[in-house]
């Protein structure tokens, strides 16, 4: 077994994800299959191989950096209208600091 019930619960907590008992059990079994399959990567010798961190080489064709300039976007009102509990100009959340 690659992954235990406790592993799933630990990872779900890291991801701020509430899972039902049934979900924990289902995902555990499915992730076990997937991780067992993924293990085939360890068959390859990758010594001396650089990890691929960029898809487009940072060259003339690739990505370029721009100057860090402030640009006004004028969308605050619209953004707040889409929020579940806006308190313009803020988003309101449950209390995080004790009185």
């Amino acid at each position: 077994m690659k992954i235990s019930r406790e592993d799933v619960l630990k990872v779900a907590a890291l991801a701020n994800l509430e899972l039902s008992d049934a979900e924990v059990e289902t995902y555990r079994g499915q992730l076990d299959d997937i991780l067992t399959y993924i293990d085939k990567l360890n068959q390859i010798d990758t010594s001396g191989i650089e990890p691929m961190t960029h898809v487009v080489a940072a060259s003339a064709e690739g990505s370029t950096l721009r100057d860090d300039v402030v640009v006004r976007s004028h969308v605050i009102g619209e953004v707040l209208r889409g929020a579940p509990d806006p308190a313009p100009p803020y988003f309101r959340v449950p209390r995080v600091i004790e009185k």
């Binding site: 992954i3 592993d7 799933v8 630990k10 990872v11 779900a12 890291l14 991801a15 701020n16 994800l17 509430e18 899972l19 039902s20 979900e23 995902y27 499915q30 992730l31 299959d33 997937i34 991780l35 399959y37 993924i38 293990d39 085939k40 990567l41 360890n42 068959q43 390859i44 990758t46 191989i49 650089e50 990890p51 691929m52 961190t53 960029h54 898809v55 487009v56 003339a60 064709e61 690739g62 990505s63 370029t64 950096l65 721009r66 976007s73 969308v75 619209e78 953004v79 889409g82 929020a83 579940p84 509990d85 988003f91 959340v93 449950p94 209390r95 995080v96």
Partner: protein, 480 residues
């Protein structure tokens, strides 16, 4: 009029000849959608106000004799993972129910500037995670070619809209095959451009190092016309490439003879449906008949692509999807504490496949597992990219099946996620390597299900890929 199959050029000709106005054309497309969508579920939201306003601008330009932009009046469908100002954009998820983006994706803005008419948003697997569009929180899409079957995914709504003539061009997004595979299942042309060729600004992120925007269309020529508009550097996406954009339409009619097409033996190993293999081989023979030279090549790391892909994609997803927490958009499920509010909102807002991938992605990034999974996955990604680079030293294009199977029945594959993942084998390789790939129809199975032929080109070789696909289509590839 309703049965007519429009292309960009027939739309333009009809508008210029005043046989139809842009407003009438738009109304005609909405009538088709009203008629077909209850069954297909291809569209999640329609944007008639915006569409008719744009149509009226086109009609005014025609009335005053102004020059028309390249895509004037082209009815466009946009996948729901792409932001559209003021039009609901949910990514097929409950967690974004009711969300209206405050801005347009660059691809949408450019198309509208070129005269396209945005009809609405198309259904997809939740956050583009899936290969059947059965993972949408708003119900599955049905394949217009075979109504009891899936349209593929995740851009299943876009592919179905094109196959049912509910739009002339649709935008899709592709992370591991999500443009190409539904294109193959629904029998339409579907291009995944080079990573960085089309701006991702406004594309709601799933896996940032893999996500791309591209067109689906009935005709390759229309996909090429749309590419000419959406390709190119965008200061708002630092990964968009500055490489010059070729004239894709002009590339279509270049002569084929002498082009070397690579056939990777590794792609025709086990697991491929015999009828799919037969149709793809017939497609390769057609390309040879058109003057292409067949070259046998090796892509030795192909068998590791699925594993590398599902590590990298889920790792990036677990990070990208952290932003859905009930604070800034979408519905909130109340909780006694902030953390509890996050957990409940995410637990109820995300569907099964998304939760599964967040758990997997968080796991492979977590302390103690990072080197074994994520780092090894990225190294294997380097090897797969090298397979492609070495192949393109010997050939101009690589021909493969798009999917090992044709469209399957709704519900047939939902129980076993790993089996569903394994069917992405021919598309994830190109996703990892960052190269462009197009799916074009190469005949149908005995049950009448479309089969897709995939043409890969080297990075920024969209012109070559489109040229081959166009010649293939014109030579009757769809009827093999």
């Amino acid at each position: 009029m309703s049965a007519q199959r429009w292309t960009i050029s027939t739309v333009r000709a009809a508008l210029v000849a005043k046989k139809i106005s842009a407003r009438e054309l738009t109304r005609d497309f909405y009538a088709r959608i009203d008629q077909r969508n209850p069954e297909l579920n291809a569209f999640l939201a329609l944007s008639p106000d915006r569409a008719y306003a744009q149509a009226d601008r086109i009609d005014a330009a025609i009335a005053s004799g102004d020059a028309l932009p390249s895509l004037a009046g082209m009815p466009l469908a946009v996948k729901d993972t792409i932001s559209t100002h003021g039009i609901p954009t949910t990514c097929g998820s409950r967690i974004l129910e009711g969300y209206k983006p405050p801005y347009d994706a660059t691809a949408v803005a450019r198309l509208e500037q070129a005269g396209a008419i945005v009809l609405g948003k198309t259904n997809c697997d939740e956050f583009a995670m899936g290969s059947s569009t059965e993972n949408s929180a708003y119900g599955p899409v049905r394949n217009p070619v075979a109504i009891g079957r899936v349209p593929g995914g995740s851009s299943g709504g876009s592919a179905a809209a094109i196959a049912a003539d509910l739009a002339v061009v649709a935008l899709g997004t592709d992370t591991g095959g999500s443009i190409r595979q539904p294109g193959s299942f629904c029998g339409v042309a579907a291009l995944n451009p080079t990573y960085g060729r089309v701006s991702r600004y406004g594309l709601i992120a799933y896996a940032s190092s893999l996500d791309r925007i591209g067109p689906l269309a009935r005709k390759v020529r229309d996909a090429a016309a749309v590419m000419s508009v959406i390709a190119g550097r965008d200061p708002r996406d630092s990964t968009s490439a500055a490489a010059p954009v070729p004239d894709y339409a002009a590339a279509l009619d270049r002569p084929l003879p002498g082009i070397r097409i690579g056939i990777p033996d590794d792609y025709f190993a086990e697991g491929i449906d015999p009828e799919v293999r037969q149709k793809v081989e017939a497609g390769i023979r057609l390309l040879e008949k058109l003057g292409c030279r067949r070259v046998s090549i090796r892509m030795p790391h192909t068998e590791y692509a699925i594993a590398a892909y599902y590590i990298i994609a889920t790792a990036e997803a677990s990070s990208n999807l952290a932003r859905y927490d009930g604070v800034r958009f979408g519905p909130r499920v109340p909780g006694a504490t902030l953390i509890e509010m996050y957990q409940k909102t995410r637990g109820r807002g995300f569907g099964n496949e998304v939760k599964r991938r967040i758990v997997l992605g968080t796991y492979v990034l977590s302390a103690g597992y990072y080197d074994a999974y994520y780092l090894q996955g990225q190294k294997v990604r380097s090897l797969i990219a090298r397979d492609f680079r070495e192949a393109f030293e010997k050939v101009d294009a690589i021909i493969t099946p798009t999917s090992p199977v044709p469209a399957f029945r709704l519900g047939e594959r939902t129980q076993n996620p790993l089996q569903m993942y394994l069917a992405d084998i021919y598309t994830v390789t190109g996703s990892l390597a960052g190269v462009p790939g197009i799916s074009v129809p190469t005949g149908k199975t005995s049950e009448g299900l479309p089969v897709g032929l995939q043409i890969y080109g080297p990075a920024f070789g969209e012109d070559r890929v489109l040229q081959l696909a166009h010649a293939f289509e014109q030579a009757g590839g769809a009827d093999l």
